[in-house]
């Protein structure tokens, strides 16, 4: 009986590429059905409780490596979510997005909506600048502290 294991080599290459870009030495991620760990050769520093896999953050469509998310959260221009909810990039479906990457925004300008308990909350730019990156898709669930966009 064949015991062939399916290797998702595209995923492994992608993870390896991420490690190169960011200088990380190890990435581990998983879900209910699988878990993957890639590590650059050499000693791997084991953190605390060894077998705990990082829980899938509800707010992401795919499963992002935890370490990368930390880097983005530390970015000086990052705008993080002040609440739990569902983020929308436009005022209504079919309407143009509040902002696009590359736009200049002023402090206080509405850049997103986050809906919770049927109430839509306006998320305003904390500073003026250029929108460098939008990390979430419209309709994505977000948690407190989740990086939404980068404005600098």
């Amino acid at each position: 009986m064949s015991n062939k294991i399916d290797v998702d080599d595209e995923l492994i290459r992608k993870l390896a590429g991420i490690m190169d870009e960011t200088g990380l030495t190890e990435i581990e991620l998983g879900s209910e059905t699988y878990s993957v760990r890639v590590a650059r050769g050499g000693t791997v520093v084991n953190a605390m409780a060894p077998t705990a896999v990082a829980p899938a953050s509800v707010a992401s469509a795919s499963v992002p490596p935890v370490d990368i998310a930390q880097n983005i959260t530390d970015h000086p221009g990052v705008v993080t979510s002040p609440m739990v909810g569902v983020a929308y990039t436009a005022s209504e479906p079919g309407q143009p997005a509040f902002v696009n990457v590359g736009d200049t925004v002023s402090e206080g300008q509405v850049v997103l909506l986050i809906e919770a308990m049927k109430v839509f909350n306006q998320i305003k730019a904390p500073r003026g600048g250029t929108v460098k990156n939008i990390m979430i898709e419209s309709g994505a669930p977000v948690e407190f502290g989740e990086p939404l966009m980068i404005i600098e």
Binding site: P55, A56, S57, V58, V84, A116, M117, E143, F144, G145
Partner: protein
């Protein structure tokens, strides 16, 4: 059965709930504050949602955030643990209104038992013995005198709007009544904004004995015996044991049946605990807790019933599947609440855990979210672990407790393990000879 449960709590109880869910094949959602990102239950959960910054009001008490987290994660049910929102009737009501199942009693019962006077009235009508008292507010000294003479001195005058041990004045004899009464009223007026007081018989050396009950949605109720929680400091329980060394089988069975019948009569569902003061062979109702309690493990050890699993099963509509004759009590169990505090001054000592080693062996259980390298955050209460031991009898249990406390290593911060070690070899404790004032007297003696 639920597919996914959201755990609306933190610390050891969140881990406890997670474990029960996992054993039932239920997916888990851990909601947490930023301070708890590295908590063990958050790491083990299938999904995690950060609710807000550390302050409880922004996170664990943040109803909107918790309900939204339930919505976005697609949870079916919410377990509130203990403390935080577990006895918040508004929360329970909103959970159900938003289409989730609240793993606990109905919001109506939470409301009923949250009102001290209404609760006392309801249980009294259901046959539960209560502390003899004024049955309502007392407004004149003449009325106070009449009540006090009827119930007998000493009496205690309590503020209706008070609580947590505050707003109470004792009158040992008839000569002390007038001063006590008038002072109580004026203090209640200025501190609580409501001068109304009621009077109860004052019990001088009672034990705190509580009965665990479990009720399903189909009218089936059982009691799971008692827990003796007399060892308290400032109304916080420190060490608990089951069964109580002060009760015999007949007393246990009698009060258990009274409690179970009352629960059935009021139509309560889920887990609940009825707390009594016990003095001179008599039980007096103090209050009912409509939630899972911290000390539930000692009941689990002697009955071999998983209380969290039963709460989940009941909430999902399952019948108990057993009745009172199926409940058997085996052996003896003791729990020590271990706090990150100086064992003498009780000053909180949060910090980073260095070397961590839990005791093991037959009959030893540790309920804790701690691990080596974990940092205990300073924002929440100081209980960091529960050490629970079981033995075939009380003596064996005490020996095992001493042995387990000796093995337990929590480096990096101060804990109350040394206090528990003292208690576990203290003559009065070993003899089961203590009441609700014992521990504070012991601490006073120790510091002199």
């Amino acid at each position: 059965m639920f597919d996914k449960v959201l755990i609306a709590n933190r610390g050891e109880i969140a881990l406890r709930i997670l474990r029960a869910c996992r054993e039932m094949g239920i997916k888990t959602v851990a909601v947490h504050s930023t301070a708890d990102e590295t908590a063990m239950h958050v790491r083990l959960a299938d999904e995690a949602v950060c609710l807000g910054p550390p302050a409880a009001k922004d996170s664990y008490l943040n109803i909107a955030a918790i309900l939204t987290a339930a919505q976005i994660s697609g949870a079916d049910a919410i377990h509130p643990g203990y403390g935080f929102l577990s006895e918040n009737a508004e929360f329970a009501r909103m959970v159900e209104e938003h289409g989730f199942v609240f793993i606990g009693p109905t919001h109506e019962h939470i409301t009923l038992m949250g009102d001290k006077i209404a609760a006392k009235d309801a249980v009294m009508k259901a046959g539960i013995p209560v502390v003899p008292g004024s049955d309502g507010g007392v407004s004149t000294f003449e009325d106070a005198k009449t009540v006090a003479e009827r119930i007998g001195y000493p009496v205690i005058i309590k503020a209706t709007a008070g609580g947590g041990g505050r707003g109470m004045k004792m009158a040992p004899t008839a000569d002390d009544l007038e001063t006590a009464f008038r002072t109580a009223r004026s203090e209640a007026g200025s501190v609580f904004g409501n001068p109304e007081v009621y009077i109860e018989k004052f019990l001088t050396t009672p034990r705190h004995i509580e009965i665990q009950v479990l009720a399903d949605n189909h009218g089936n109720v059982v009691h799971l015996g008692e827990r003796d929680c007399s060892l308290q400091r400032r109304h916080q329980k420190v060490l608990e044991e089951a069964p109580s060394p002060a009760l015999n089988a007949e007393q246990r069975s009698k009060i258990g049946d009274i409690a179970a019948k009352a629960i059935q009569k009021i139509g309560y569902r889920s887990a609940g605990t009825i707390e009594f003061l016990f003095e001179d062979g008599e039980f007096y109702f103090i209050e009912m807790n409509t939630r899972l309690q911290v000390e539930h493990p000692i009941t689990e050890m002697i009955t071999r019933i998983d209380l969290v699993r039963e709460m989940i099963r009941i909430a999902a509509g399952a019948p108990l599947g057993y009745d009172q004759k199926d409940i058997t009590f085996l052996g003896h169990s003791i729990e020590c609440r271990i706090n990150a505090e100086d064992p003498e001054t009780f000053m909180p000592c949060p910090g980073k855990i260095g070397l961590y080693h839990t005791p093991g062996g037959l009959g030893v259980r540790v309920d804790s979210g701690l691990y080596s390298g974990y940092t205990v955050p300073p924002y929440y209460d100081s209980m960091i672990a529960k050490l629970i031991v079981h033995g075939t009898n009380r003596n064996e249990c005490l020996m095992r407790l001493r042995r387990a406390l000796d093995e337990y290593v929590i480096d990096g911060l101060k804990t109350t393990i040394p206090l528990h070690a003292k208690l576990a070899s203290n003559a009065d404790i070993v003899n089961g000879d203590y009441d609700i004032h014992w521990l504070e007297k012991f601490m006073d003696d120790e510091s002199n």
